[in-house]
């Protein structure tokens, strides 16, 4: 009934035939490829998949096997310090500890030094959002309106720079690596820049523009957990200070899991470390600032190399091998069924 009233009045013009077009689309006769699961296609697809996965898997496993990695849990080894840090009133007391370890063989190639945290839920919903990207981009924004709460301003109204829970809880241990070579201790040269993503360093994080950093951050205060203001993060290197400090940038890239590692330093390949880390005794000197006992966390320091397929995690290779095997086996199963049924009866028409 509706269309009766809604159709506009038509004059008595010659109406074209209402016969529908005889086009392939309208008649649903478009040329179409109809893939059909015949025994040949099925078997070949299974076997091909199987073969491909197996070969890729083997390659991956081989390449991850060449990764050398050493991981040291220093949360217990520095138990004194951790006890000290349990009480937050001792925040300005320094605490150092050292951890010795031995490399049985050389670690060749680029060696990366990570710090690892366990049970630190950087991916917590309210934690993840607690930052102000605009502020980190050097813009003068009202962080009251950002997601930084409750780490936005102090009671007196001084804004925090950087604001938010992520920045506030930044990992602030310092770890140095020493190579004990015949009773002489050589500090392993470590690179503290170039560890973050290029785009982060150059695009996403910018310091506020001013003639020098301290004036740029004038009128702001450090986050409550920090020991020094943001413009003193790296006093040696102007281009690694303030918001564009690599350690800070890396920390701000919140980790996906509660147990994670972040790149801390890279071994600078000079002098005796030109090929990597030679075998021998090493010591980590750690300035222990970051409390983990509160959340039953642990802290690690990790030395590792990387290959094209990532780190030491062999999972991808295993996954390939397993699924390759599964596909191949399935192929055999189908062949078996097929042969058995064909013998029995001509169920299958070619």
């Amino acid at each position: 009934m509706k269309n009766k009233t809604s159709s506009p009045p038509r004059e008595g013009e010659a109406r074209p035939s209402r016969c529908p077009d005889n086009s392939a689309f309208k008649q649903q006769k478009l040329p179409a490829w109809k893939p059909q699961l015949t025994i040949a296609t099925v078997l070949s697809s299974f076997f091909l998949t199987g073969a491909f996965c197996l070969s890729v898997g083997v390659c991956l496993i081989l390449s991850t096997n060449s990764v050398r990695e050493i991981q040291i849990d220093y949360s217990d080894k520095c138990s004194d310090c951790s006890k000290l840090r349990e009480n937050s009133s001792n925040w300005n007391k320094e605490c150092h500890c050292s951890v010795n370890f031995m490399l049985k063989e050389d670690i060749l190639g680029d060696v990366f030094m990570y710090y690892g945290l366990q049970n630190f839920y950087q991916n917590h919903r309210r934690y993840v959002i607690s930052r102000s990207d605009a502020q980190l981009l050097g813009r003068n924004v009202n962080i009251q309106k950002s997601y930084c709460a409750p780490f936005t301003t102090y009671r007196n109204g001084t804004p925090m720079a950087p604001c938010g829970a992520i920045a506030n809880s930044m990992f602030n241990d310092t770890i140095d690596l020493f190579y004990n070579l015949k009773s002489s201790v050589i500090q392993v040269p470590l690179l503290k820049t170039g560890n973050s993503w290029w785009t982060d360093k150059n695009v996403k994080f910018r310091n506020p523009k001013s003639y020098n950093l301290s004036s740029a951050f004038a009128g702001t205060a450090r986050p409550p957990y920090w020991q020094k203001p943001v413009y003193l993060l790296d006093e040696e290197d102007e281009r690694n200070n303030g918001y564009i400090n690599d350690d800070f940038i890396i920390w701000m890239r919140v980790s996906a899991f509660a147990t994670f590692r972040n790149l801390y330093r890279r071994v600078s390949r000079i002098r005796q470390f030109a090929d990597g880390l030679p075998a021998g005794n090493y010591t980590f000197r750690i300035s222990y600032n970051f409390p983990v006992t509160k959340f039953k966390g642990r802290k690690y320091v990790i030395l590792s190399t990387v290959v094209w397929s990532g780190g030491s995690n062999p999972f991808l290779g295993i996954a390939y091998v397993v699924s390759g095997t599964a596909a191949t086996l399935t192929g055999f199963v189908i062949t078996a069924i097929h042969l058995k049924l064909r013998k029995k009866k001509a169920y299958f028409q070619k």
């Binding site: 009934m1 506009p8 109809k34 998949t49 102000s132 899991f257 994670f260 996954a319």
Partner: protein, 1453 residues
């Protein structure tokens, strides 16, 4: 029934006394207290005062209560649009759910998403449908505006003239002047028509699609007819009923200042939206305006139907919401446990501004939103494709299929029961006169039958057809000119009919005269118009004609009189409108007075000369009595003028041509001498032109054409007069005193005429034989010989009628009655009173009609063939093979219905048919019980056999083997008993075992009740198909209603969900489109669930690693876009275009339809399996990357990005696995989706540094794309995720159900081979099934000669049973029958027998109808002999009542 005159009189007086007193008290307060008036009356009656100078005050007061003529069909106004639309949209469950989520998101405690982002998808969806609604509404608004501002002429009391006014300014009580071809602005009571007889012609195409003209009459007895109507003098008050939507009922009266009342009815009401035709001017008073008009009240708008899938889906949505709830619960509990692990809050558990720590409950899972809108889109696409199917296009009517309901396409694929109307649905509803019987003599019309046969073969091949006619029927060349004319006209008509059909949807068509010229002439195919007369009958008629000429006309000589009467009745007793072929819309109404204008003297001279010659030759050939000559001459005179007038009406120049033509014919005729020739020439010459008859029912037209074939030509008809030309050329004009129209209760119609010669008052009645036979005159009064004769005639006629019905013909009895003047006057008084009554007027009218139609004299009966539509048996067979139960619900009589059922293979010759006709509840119950028992017994016998075959895993296993086939025939009365007696369950249990069910003589209400019963009790999907107004209720009751846009107007189409033009289209519509739509949509819905569950679970798994804090690893935008854009196109395309099998395969193997019937694609098990698969896949998609990145320095979004990508790939590949056909579109959208995802991500990740706080996926995609592990990850994860599914697919694809497998293989074959294979498959199946039943005869072969054909179906029960036992091995054994008999002592009619169809009936041309093997002696002859003693009173009553109704071939217990 036999209501005596006196008692009727009493009743009348009583009513007459009551009704005024009633109405007085109600209506007269008008005159007393002005104050109370509106309140008191307006609730019950509508009182209309004329809007003229005199009654202006009253008018003003009253019309304030009535709505104006402005219409507003828009749903919204500017102000209400937003709230109202939103309100409506939130009726959808999905929208409400999302709104709930959004609202939750506004609470910071549970905020997961960025508030604004959370709203976005909802807003997109809402906006999309909102804009759609807005555009639709705006269109309506514009349309309303054009309507409201169209002009009409309304009487202005100040200017005392008609002035132009907009439609919207028309008020109730206004006088409106309408001109020809104007559209009527409101419901108007007709007060004046320029037509002499006060008739105004209407075209109601806008209302009901019927293009034939309707007549409307100025209020009867309203005096100011002949003078020009002057509104100022109109002082009557009109009182009528309140506005209602019944288009066919309206009553009221007009109260004159002297308190005299004039009744009127719908015949005087001009309905809004109709168009005035053939009437120069009409004036009326507005009764209802605007939204109160009947047309607007009928405009109820489309219904919202919800498909089965949608209903299923809603429950599953609840399941999914439940799932979400569980997820949230897990999150909440998990979070509690997680926080319990810490003695104090860790640094990463960030409190809110006020230092409170929050427990996130909502994990922000967005599901199903896009699904709802995409489903709508897919359905639109499906509808578009169905609409464009060229196979469903009817060339003749230029009509493609109309999809009126947009959201139930998939229901077409799940139909389990079809309820079909018979007439017009299975049959053409093109009535062809086939046979008649007059005075107990049957005229078989062999030639006509032969002509119909050849007609079928030649298929309207004009040339051959003409030749054939010429060839076979040399003596009948009267017909030739007519044929010739029709032939030349036909192409024109074809295109007219093409135009006419869509008019139901247009409005305001301003059709000029030439336009109306093109309009369709209803029921005018050659088949119907040409009736080749039976030579024997023709001879009789001629003899009769000669006799009547010789003797004084119409004085006895029994046969001739009844012959003449018979044909007169055929010609008169109807409501056919006559128009001329040259100008179809120009009605031939009155033989008009001579009008000298427009025609030259010379022409008149010519005509007169011609007429003189003709009549001279006539009088020469047949010594005509002078009086007769006089009439004939005068008649011809007028006739000639008629022709002339017709000419000048058309065109001046046409007249000269016509004159020449006449002249030419005349000159040739003079030369010829033979009687025949002269006879013919007279007929021809006086034929002004070819007449076209427009009838309300095609039967009537067929009868008039039949009468015409015997030269009883209906020349003109007005409400007062009807003119018929007799074979001898005389024109007889009958005064019509009354016309008692047809109704389904009386099942008859009558006209009361005054014979022009004898001045007798004659009632001609025609109607269903069951009714007429009861009303025949008691033979007691007449003398003995006449009595015997009457009885014999009656018996013979009954016999013939039985035979006709067996032959599948529609039968009508023709009867007459002569009234004497006194009786008539008495009756006429009642009738007038009845017409004026307002209260229970219909009953009164009915009573008067019944009172008149008694003591009739039988004249004869006719058999009209309703031809089966093209390819109906084929369609029914295919649908049945598809597992659809087909029921036929018809108002027709049992015999006709059963015969049609046989001829369309609804019933098989070998089927056991149970017939239940009873009015008694107990009988009915026991009969049902017995039948049920019987059927079950058979069923059980069959079962073990089936099992044996079921084991064998042949491709088309014996599960297809035909169980014993039963048919059930039941009539309306029995249905009533069943419904009232609570026997529904038994009835349904019985029908479940029956292959087909026929319900005869059922009313529309019963039809819908049956549909509802089956639908509710059996919980099946039902489809109703019908073409007429009587099917509307049935169409609306079913899940899917299909209307056939055929002969009977548009009501069925208006009520339907789909409108097709032929029954055969149902096959493709269901088997192909239904299957496709169902398969597509079901798969799509399943896929949507899969997709959403899959994706949402990804987020859920992450909760276990983020302390159940509700954080997400995927950027919000990408997450929202994922559903909205990245993965929406392929399923959309899939839903519109996927074809699991080709159309040819689906048509070739109807059993593929069962797939949808059993909801195999989308049912709980598939749903659960899909859900499990979705969980598995999401586990893989999450944990493979998780294990891969575990313990690494991966950040949140770098972890989420590969997951997002992987799940995109998995979801798309999953879709690819589901897709059966890959067209270019599929490939493009598939790759396009992936490419779009990558491009979007790249751009978004590169362009947006801080645009979307607090999340920031800057440069992530770029970084990952440069990482080889990302690619390796994206490669392996979908493989692992889809491997199980692919494995199952592979197994199913190679070792799966063989029908599907085979069908798939068929699809691959080239066209020709495919057909061959389908043939092979089908034949193979036939043999296997045949073998499994071990039936001696192959299935449905009509031509085959079964041995029991010659066995009378009215055998002694034992004999019948034995014979069946012998021939079929399925029948009852004798003992069983006996047992049955014992158990039904009350002896209700319990028929069960095999219908033994005589093969000779259809082709019984050579032997004639009664050549021996037709056992017409009805069962009652044999029954009393067997069981008469046992009959109780009850059944005896049944028996009497049904005496004229032939009991079908049956064993009576």
């Amino acid at each position: 029934m036999a209501l005596s005159v006196d008692s009727a009189l009493y009743r009348w007086q009583r009513l007459g006394a009551e009704s005024p007193s009633q109405t007085l008290s109600e209506s007269t307060p008008l005159l007393f207290s002005v104050r109370d008036r509106p309140k008191l009356n307006l609730n019950k009656w509508r009182i209309v005062f004329p809007n003229n100078g005199r009654q202006w005050k009253d008018w003003k007061q009253a019309s304030a209560f009535y709505s104006g003529n402005r219409i507003q069909t828009t749903k919204y106004t500017w102000f209400t649009f937003l709230p109202q639309n939103l309100f409506e949209q939130f009726h959808r469950l999905g929208n409400l759910y999302f709104f709930f989520l959004v609202v939750l998101n506004w609470f910071p405690q549970v905020e997961v998403f960025h508030r604004e982002i959370a709203m976005l998808p909802l807003i997109v969806v809402l906006l999309a449908s909102m804009s759609k609604d807005a555009i639709e509404d705006y269109r309506k608004y514009r349309f309303d505006k054009t309507i409201n501002f169209s002009k009409t002429r309304v009487y202005d009391k100040e200017e005392r003239a008609y002035v132009e006014k907009c439609w919207k300014d028309v008020r109730v009580g206004d006088f409106v002047q309408l001109q020809c071809n104007e559209t009527i602005p409101a419901d108007i009571l007709l007060l004046y028509s320029s037509d002499q007889n006060g008739i105004c012609h209407l075209e109601t195409a806008n209302l009901d699609g019927e293009t034939n003209l309707k007549q409307r009459q100025v209020v009867m007895g309203f005096s100011s007819q002949n003078t020009l109507f002057e509104p100022e003098f109109f002082q009557n008050t009109i009182i009528c009923e309140m506005p209602n939507n019944d288009l066919n009922k309206f009553k009221g009266y007009m109260e004159q200042p002297n308190h005299e009342r004039i009744g009127f009815n719908i015949e005087s009401l001009l309905l809004r939206g109709c168009t005035i035709r053939n009437t120069e001017a009409a004036i009326g008073i507005v009764i209802y305006a605007g939204h109160e008009t009947k047309a607007m009240l009928n405009n109820s708008g489309p219904r919202y139907k919800r498909s089965k899938i949608e209903r299923r889906m809603n429950t599953d949505i609840f399941l999914c919401v439940g799932l979400l709830f569980v997820m949230c619960l897990v999150g909440a509990v998990g979070h509690g446990i997680w926080t319990g692990n810490f003695s104090e809050h860790p640094p990463y558990d960030v409190p809110d501004e006020n230092g409170n720590f929050l427990s996130p409950v909502l994990a922000g899972f967005y599901m199903f939103l896009t699904m709802i809108i995409l489903l709508q889109l897919v359905k639109l696409g499906q509808v578009f494709l169905i609409h464009n199917d060229i196979d469903l296009y009817d060339e003749e009517a230029d009509l493609p299929i109309q999809c009126r309901a947009l959201n139930i396409t998939e229901d077409l694929g799940q139909i389990q029961y079809i309820f079909s109307d018979k007439t017009g649905t299975l049959t053409e509803n093109k009535m062809v006169f086939r046979r008649c019987t007059v005075d107990g003599i049957e005229f078989s019309h062999q030639e006509n039958a032969r002509r119909l046969e050849t007609h079928k073969e030649l298929d309207l091949d004009d040339e051959d057809f003409a030749k054939l006619q010429h060839f076979t029927l040399p003596p009948m060349n009267i017909e030739r000119p007519a044929t010739y004319k029709q032939r030349t006209m036909r192409p024109l008509r074809r295109c007219q009919s093409a135009r006419a059909h869509f008019q139901g949807h247009t409005r305001n068509r301003s059709l000029g005269r030439c336009d109306s010229n093109q309009s369709q002439v209803a029921f005018s195919s050659t088949i119907e118009k040409d009736v080749t007369p039976d030579s024997r009958l023709l001879r009789h008629v001629r003899e009769a004609a000669l006799q009547t000429e010789n003797l004084s006309p119409f004085v006895h000589m029994k046969t001739s009189t009844s012959l003449t009467d018979f044909f007169l009745a055929l010609a008169i007793c109807n409501t056919v409108l006559v128009s001329t072929a040259t100008e179809p819309r120009q009605r031939v109404t009155v033989p008009p007075p001579i009008k000298p204008s427009g025609i030259t003297l010379e022409k008149i001279h010519q005509i007169f000369q011609r007429l003189k010659l003709a009549s001279l030759s006539q009088s020469f050939s047949s010594s005509q009595s002078s009086s007769d000559l006089g009439t004939s001459f005068s008649a011809k005179n007028t006739e000639g003028h008629l022709a002339a007038l017709d000419c000048c009406d058309n065109d001046d120049c046409c007249a000269s041509g016509r004159g020449d033509e006449l002249q030419g014919k005349g000159s040739t005729d003079i030369g010829s001498a033979s009687l025949d020739e002269v006879f013919k020439s007279v007929t021809n010459s006086s034929l002004p032109t070819d007449f076209c008859y427009e009838a309300e029912s095609p039967d009537e037209a067929a009868l008039v054409y039949a009468a015409q074939a015997y030269s009883f030509t209906l020349v003109s008809r007005t409400p007062e007069q009807v003119t018929v030309r007799l074979p001898q050329g005389t024109l007889l004009t009958f005064d019509i005193l009354y016309t008692l129209g047809f109704d389904s209760v009386r099942k008859r119609m009558s006209v009361v005429v005054r014979h022009p010669l004898t001045k007798e008052i004659v009632v001609y009645t025609k109607g269903a034989d069951s009714v007429i036979m009861d009303l025949l005159e008691d033979s007691a009064k007449a003398d003995i010989s006449a009595k015997k004769r009457m009885k014999r005639i009656k018996e013979k006629t009954q016999k013939h009628l039985d035979y006709y019905a067996r032959d599948g013909l529609r039968t009508l009895c023709i009867a007459k009655k002569v009234l004497n003047e006194d009786d008539f006057q008495k009756w006429a008084n009642f009738r007038r009173e009845a017409e004026a009554a307002i209260d229970n007027r219909d009953e009164l009218l009915m009573e008067t009609a019944q009172h008149l139609e008694t003591k009739l004299t039988l004249l004869g009966a006719t058999g009209i063939e309703d031809r089966l539509q093209d390819r109906v048996p084929d369609t029914i067979a295919a649908l049945r093979e598809a597992g659809i139960q087909i029921w036929v619900l018809t108002g027709d009589k049992q015999e006709t219905a059963v015969n049609i059922a046989y001829s369309c293979k609804l019933l098989n010759q070998r089927d056991t048919v149970f017939t239940i006709n009873t009015e008694n509840k107990e009988t009915c119950e026991s009969v049902l019980n017995l039948t049920l028992e019987e059927v079950r017994k058979n069923y059980e016998v069959e079962k073990p056999r089936r099992k044996i075959f079921g084991i064998i895993p042949t491709s088309f296993s014996a599960s297809e083997a035909p169980s014993p086939e039963f048919g059930l025939v039941i009539d309306g009365r029995t249905l009533n008993v069943i419904f009232q007696g609570g026997l529904e369950e038994k009835f349904l249990a019985l029908t479940k075992h029956c292959r087909s069910v026929l319900c005869c003589r059922s009313t529309p209400l019963q039809k819908s009740m049956v549909v509802k019963l089956v639908r509710r009790q059996l919980k099946v999907m039902t489809l109703s198909i019908g073409d007429g107004a009587n099917d509307v209720s049935m169409i609306q009751a079913a899940d899917v209603g299909i209307g056939i846009s055929g002969q009977e107007g548009m009501q069925a189409v208006m009520a339907s969900d789909f409108a097709i033009s032929r029954f055969k289209h149902l096959k493709k519509l269901l088997l192909v489109h239904g299957h496709w739509c169902y398969a597509r949509l079901a798969k799509m819905v399943i896929y949507f669930f899969y997709k959403n569950v899959n994706y949402v679970s990804l987020l859920f798994w992450y909760q276990f690693f983020c302390g159940f804090s509700g954080s997400t690893m995927i950027d919000y935008w990408q997450m929202i876009f994922f559903n909205l854009f990245f993965t929406s196109m392929p399923p959309l395309l899939f839903g519109v275009l996927d074809r699991d099998f080709s159309a040819e395969t689906l048509l070739g193997l109807p059993e593929l339809y069962k797939n949808g019937q059993n909801s195999e694609i989308y049912k709980l098990s598939t749903f659960i399996i899909t859900m499990l698969d979705a969980f598995y896949q999401s586990l893989i998609c999450f944990f493979v990357p998780y294990l891969m990145y575990e313990d690494s320095d991966i950040d949140v979004f770098s972890f989420g990005n590969p997951i997002n990508t992987i799940s995109l790939l998995t979801i798309l590949l999953h879709q690819a696995l589901e897709m059966k056909t890959w067209t270019v579109f599929h490939v493009v959208t598939m790759t396009g989706s992936v490419v779009f995802y990558l491009v979007f991500s790249l751009i978004y990740n590169a362009a947006c540094v801080v645009c979307n706080p607090p999340t920031n996926p800057y440069w992530i995609m770029e970084k990952q794309l440069s990482d080889p592990t990302f690619y390796l990850l994206c490669l392996i994860t979908p493989v692992i995720a889809l491997l199980p599914r692919f494995f199952i697919f592979a197994l199913r694809g190679t070792f799966g159900p063989s029908v599907i497998l085979k069908a798939q293989q068929l699809d691959k074959l080239p066209k020709g081979q495919q057909d061959l294979e389908i043939q092979k498959l089908r034949s193979g199946k036939q043999t296997t099934s045949g073998a499994s039943v071990a039936s001696p005869a192959s299935n449905d072969d009509l031509d085959q000669n079964i041995s029991h054909l010659c066995v009378s179906p009215f055998l002694h029960p034992v004999a019948a049973a034995v014979s069946h036992g012998d021939t079929e091995g399925q029948g009852l054994s004798a003992s069983e029958v006996n047992a049955l008999r014992k158990r039904t002592p009350e002896g209700g009619y319990y028929f069960f027998n095999r219908w033994a169809e005589e093969e000779g009936t259809a082709t019984g041309s050579s032997a004639g109808p009664f050549s021996g093997h037709y056992p017409l002696v009805p069962s009652r002859v044999t029954t009393p002999g067997q069981d008469g003693g046992k009959l109780t009173k009850d059944s005896a009553k049944n028996f009497n009542h049904g005496s004229h109704r032939r009991s079908v071939s049956a064993v009576t217990l």
